[in-house]
């Protein structure tokens, strides 16, 4: 661990292909709060789960942000979920408000864990959350991300998920962005017959930025991947979607679908998207779709003809557009609370 301040040149820049639309270097300054220090996350644990601090310099990724997390994040917060564990209570992670944070979650064979992460930063903050999750055989991981930063906060939240055979991953991310934010999910399939749903929605106004990036790397057969990301941008905000399915030769019978659909509610907002399929196996069903559109004027008129004021009609149509990525969220209360946040955002707009 170093006590030197972080050198800005070690941050990703637009010149790095994977960061061309999310210029971290350009938005971070020496005065960003938490730039060179470890953060202090808060864990609310279900009974039977413990968290401990582990000292390690191990890194099995070459990602720049993971390296910075190792250099500045201090010890790893390690959560271990014992074999066969399951609970109705989720693990809640808060305090992701500044600094570098390393989290490791190990889910043992047949165990199941729900996690709710609240990503809410400090004004002028810099947050780098680097999370490693391992699912052993038949393990289950349900992850919900709620992200809303101040307009001048920069956040990179990366998850490296490794799944062994018959594991199931479900992710629902809801982001209202920040000065610059990226929610990146990397899933490596190591055992056959993995099922993953990776859904998300971003709703951005003002000059907010949110980047949802994912990389799904499959080297094993019989996996099913479903990804649906919806975006809504208005004012001068910018949404970025980068999704890649990498289906290696042994990954036969992969059934994978990627969708990104965005609504541009103003001419000055921006959407950048790059859906990618890289497929080497021959017996697979992989598809992707990507659309950018506007609200349907005739539908709006129809609603107004029935007496619904324009702003309310827009909000209803927008909510309907976004909401379906959360349809498969099993926890009804959690789903309602996400929809509530979306409605609140729509009301303010």
């Amino acid at each position: 661990m170093t006590h030197m301040p972080l050198k800005l040149e070690n941050l990703p820049t637009r010149r790095d292909e994977a960061w061309k639309w999310t210029d971290v270097r350009g938005r971070v300054s020496e005065t960003s709060a938490g730039l060179s220090v470890a953060g202090l996350p808060k864990f609310t644990l279900p009974d039977g789960i413990t968290v401990s601090e582990v000292e390690t310099d191990d890194l099995d990724t070459d990602s720049a942000m993971a390296k910075l997390a190792r250099n500045f994040g201090g010890k790893v917060w390690a959560v271990s979920v014992p074999e066969g564990f399951s609970s109705d209570t989720p693990l809640i992670i808060e305090g992701l408000n500044r600094g570098h944070i390393r989290i490791r979650i190990d889910i043992a064979k047949g165990a199941s864990l729900s996690v709710i992460e609240h990503h809410a930063g400090d004004a002028g903050g810099f947050v780098n959350v680097d999370m490693t999750v391992t699912l052993k055989a038949e393990a289950k991981f349900d992850r919900t991300i709620v992200h809303n930063d101040p307009a001048d906060c920069v956040r990179i939240a990366t998850a490296h998920i490794t799944a062994w055979n018959d594991a199931a991953v479900t992710q629902h991310a809801l982001s209202f962005g920040g000065a610059l934010s990226r929610i990146e999910t990397r899933l490596a399939g190591m055992g056959k017959h993995i099922e993953a749903t990776l859904n998300g929605a971003y709703l951005l106004d003002d000059k907010r930025h949110c980047d949802m990036t994912s990389y799904i790397d499959l080297a094993v057969p019989d996996c099913t991947i479903r990804q649906a990301v919806k975006g809504v941008v208005t004012d001068k905000s910018r949404g970025v979607f980068q999704g890649k399915f990498h289906v290696r030769r042994p990954a036969q019978h992969t059934d994978a679908e990627m969708r990104h659909d965005a609504l541009m509610l103003s001419d000055t907002s921006e959407i950048r998207s790059k859906p990618e399929l890289e497929i080497y196996a021959d017996d697979v069903a992989c598809a992707h779709g990507n659309t950018i559109g506007q609200l349907d004027e005739s539908a709006l008129f129809y609603m107004r003809q029935r007496g619904i004021p324009l702003a309310e009609a827009r909000a209803l149509l927008t909510e309907a557009f976004v909401a379906d990525v959360f349809d498969d969220l099993d926890d009804e209360d959690l789903r309602e609370s996400l929809l509530g946040k979306i409605r609140e955002w729509l009301k303010e707009g």
Binding site: D296, E297, S298, A299, F301, Y302, M303, R304, Q305, R306, G307, I308, P309, L310, E312, L316, L317, E319, A320, F321, A323, D324
Partner: protein
């Protein structure tokens, strides 16, 4: 009640004049029918009256109970009591029918300074009406009109109309696409809404509907204006003879 005076309107950014000095009055308590050839401007009239973008009024005025309609946004006109049963009802993906309708009803009530209708009362009313219109209850749970058949959409228009109880009803070819039984159900519904303080303007191509909903007056829209008018029997004559005599 509804007074249209010398109304001219264009579409296509003013490049195409559709209505030319059209005048028509529908007094409270009366039902008037409008017939006329395809492309005459019947739907255009319904959109101008309800304030759709892209249908521009170039001259004339329209009042409902003395209030200038053309000054109002579509939702204000709706709150005033203007209801259009669309020739082609729109699909509203992701918005359940009941949510849509409750939002609409209470928005109108709020705009009129009335109290909102509470959920239980709304539900009760909706269920009873769905039964009366012989609609499948699951239709109310589905997103509005999404995947509905043509006839189901028309029936849904009538359902909305009867829930909202508007002061003035405009129906644009509500009969097309309806089977005989549905036509009777719809007509019964419309007839139930006939009242001394409500007016109706019914656009149709078929005399058949007017057997069920007998109009006080029948007008021919042709050449951008009302080219001829008559009583209920006039519709029979039009159906037999066509519109050649009224060509622009």
């Amino acid at each position: 009640m509804l007074k249209i005076n010398n109304l001219s309107a264009t579409v296509d950014d003013g490049n195409k004049t559709i209505l030319e000095a059209l005048s028509l009055e529908v007094p409270a308590g009366e039902v008037h029918a409008i017939m006329g050839p395809n492309g005459a401007g019947k739907s255009t009239l319904s959109y101008v009256l309800t304030g759709r973008d892209g249908y521009d009024v170039t001259s004339g005025d329209v009042t409902l109970d003395g209030d200038d309609l053309l000054e109002m946004d579509p939702e204000e006109r709706a709150a005033k009591g203007m209801f259009l049963s669309f020739q082609y009802p729109l699909e509203i993906p992701g918005v359940p029918t009941m949510t849509f309708l409750k939002t609409a009803l209470n928005a109108q009530r709020r705009a009129r300074g009335e109290e909102e209708m509470a959920a239980p009362e709304f539900l009760k009313k909706a269920r009873a009406l769905a039964k009366e219109l012989k609609m499948k209850p699951e239709m109310l749970k589905r997103p509005l009109n999404v995947g509905f058949s043509g006839g189901e959409k028309k029936r849904m228009e009538i359902f909305q109309m009867m829930m909202l109880e508007p002061r003035f009803i405009l129906m644009d070819e509500t009969d097309s696409g309806l089977d005989v039984d549905a036509l009777r159900i719809v007509a019964d519904g419309v007839n139930k809404l006939r009242s001394p303080d409500r007016g109706m303007l019914i656009i149709t191509h078929y005399q058949r509907l007017l057997d069920y909903i007998v109009p006080d007056r029948v007008h021919v829209l042709s050449g951008g204006k009302i080219a001829a008018s008559g009583d209920a029997d006039f519709a029979k004559k039009l159906e037999a003879e066509g519109y050649d005599a009224y060509a622009a």
